[in-house]
């Protein structure tokens, strides 16, 4: 089966920033992404769990995009503008996809 090189960008960010991030991605020409709920975790700001949150203020989401390698810089610039001051992680990994025309 023919596969194609792509980049998988996973951005874990506070729930309250989700709509701002996805808007920035769409404005940067990223047409596809997936948003996943995050159950909990631990980091520089301490341990947290989705179970103990009374509002969206404390929750996190993961936004996953798979794009062509040449579009990576544009995506990262757009994402950085949103996540720069906020709690979160931006992670880029190599991946392979079927049907390259979809990315």
């Amino acid at each position: 089966m023919q596969t194609h090189q792509a980049k998988r960008v996973e951005i874990t960010i506070e729930s309250v920033m989700e709509s701002r991030l996805t808007k920035a991605l769409v404005d940067a020409g990223v047409t596809g992404f997936t948003i996943l709920p995050v159950l909990g975790g631990s980091g520089r700001s301490g341990q947290w769990s989705r179970e103990g949150q009374v509002s969206r203020a404390g929750g996190m989401v993961a936004v996953v995009c798979i794009i062509r390698p040449e579009r990576l810089d544009g995506l990262l610039d757009a994402a950085f503008g949103v996540v720069e001051r906020h709690i979160g992680v931006v992670c880029v990994t190599d991946c392979e996809v079927l049907r390259a025309e979809r990315f």
């Binding site: 920033m17 769990s49 179970e51 509002s55 404390g58 906020h86």
Partner: protein, 326 residues
């Protein structure tokens, strides 16, 4: 004094407080008891809908007067002003940075709708009358404090940024405010007849749902306290207990000046004494990401909310009753 103690004892032994205490204890004991997220959200929607509708129906039954407008204006002014007082106290009592102090101060100018719902329940159970439009006062007090917090940052911290475009729209149109105000207006339009139609749904089960919701709030507050115990220094803890009493004095003064009923004065005190843990934290995460969320969430949810629920509300009822002769 005996009356105040009896009221405090009655309040502490009421089902809603005992369920809250159960939640706290379960969280401290690391029990796996939990309320599913969707059910907790459903209960909060039910409570906002019920309290808004009943408030609107009460206004329809009693009519409106100039005091309603004055109460709304006073609520907005208090929400702007209380963060200034809180900020000054925080700078004196704690070693918080300007950013953290302003973020915490913003929470204390806004309100806790759950404390308001619990206080309304206590007021009704005590046989006191209150103005139905206090629900609308609660709604207008949600947002101005956020502007005060941002102004404090701009005034005392030169490196601070301005409010992001679109944030105020998000704050004013957050789901809680839309549902509360919307239910209030529908209750007002449909009046007592409308209330009679849905009373079996929003009156009779109300206390039971409130108990279950406060069980969840106890679990959340207990987990928050357990996870953030390193944050809670003595000065901060003291602030979390003193500030609601200070805030309630402003509410008391305004309630008396406006000539509100005893229950209305109590609710104004509660609104001024409570601290937000839903709308303001979300706004602060967007506008002031540098502020430490574990400080303001632990203070508002882990200290001030339990204080108001257990000791504050009976104190406010006793003071308002004594001063209004209610």
């Amino acid at each position: 004094m005996d009356g105040m103690l009896a009221l405090a004892a009655d309040n502490l032994l009421s089902p809603i407080i005992l369920f809250f205490a159960l939640g706290l204890l379960a969280a401290f004991a690391r029990s796996d008891l939990s309320i599913p997220e969707a059910i907790a959200k459903g209960m909060s929607i039910y409570l906002l809908f019920a309290i808004g509708f009943k408030g609107g129906a009460a206004v329809a039954a009693n009519g409106i007067d100039a005091t309603l407008i004055l109460s709304l204006v006073a609520g907005v002014v208090l929400s702007f002003a209380i963060p200034m007082v809180a900020f000054a106290l925080l700078r004196v009592m704690t070693g918080l940075s300007v950013t953290d102090a302003a973020a915490v101060a913003g929470h204390y100018g806004s309100i806790s709708i759950v404390t308001f719902v619990a206080a309304s329940s206590v007021v009704t159970a005590s046989g006191l009358d209150s103005e139905g439009y206090m629900v609308a006062v609660a709604a207008v007090m949600e947002a101005p404090a956020i502007l005060s917090a941002l102004w404090l940052i701009a005034r005392f911290d030169k490196g601070a940024s301005d409010m992001e475009a679109g944030l105020m729209r998000e704050i004013l149109l957050n789901g809680s405010i839309v549902l509360l105000v919307g239910s209030f207006l529908i209750g007002w339009i449909t009046g007592t007849e409308g209330l009679d139609l849905i009373a079996p749904f929003i009156v009779t089960p109300f206390q039971g749902v409130l108990c279950l919701f406060l069980l969840d709030m106890g679990l959340v507050a207990g987990r928050g306290l357990r996870e953030a115990k390193g944050v809670l220094k003595p000065g901060l803890f003291l602030f979390g207990v003193i500030m609601p009493v200070v805030g309630s004095c402003f509410g008391l003064a305004v309630g008396l000046l406006l000539g509100l009923s005893t229950g209305g004065v109590v609710l104004f005190m509660v609104l001024s004494a409570s601290a937000s843990y839903i709308a303001v934290p979300a706004a602060m995460r967007v506008a002031l990401p540098e502020a430490n969320p574990s400080i303001y969430l632990t203070l508002s949810l882990g200290v001030t909310f339990p204080f108001n629920l257990t000791l504050g509300i009976p104190l406010y009822v006793a003071v308002a009753t004594a001063l209004t002769g209610g």
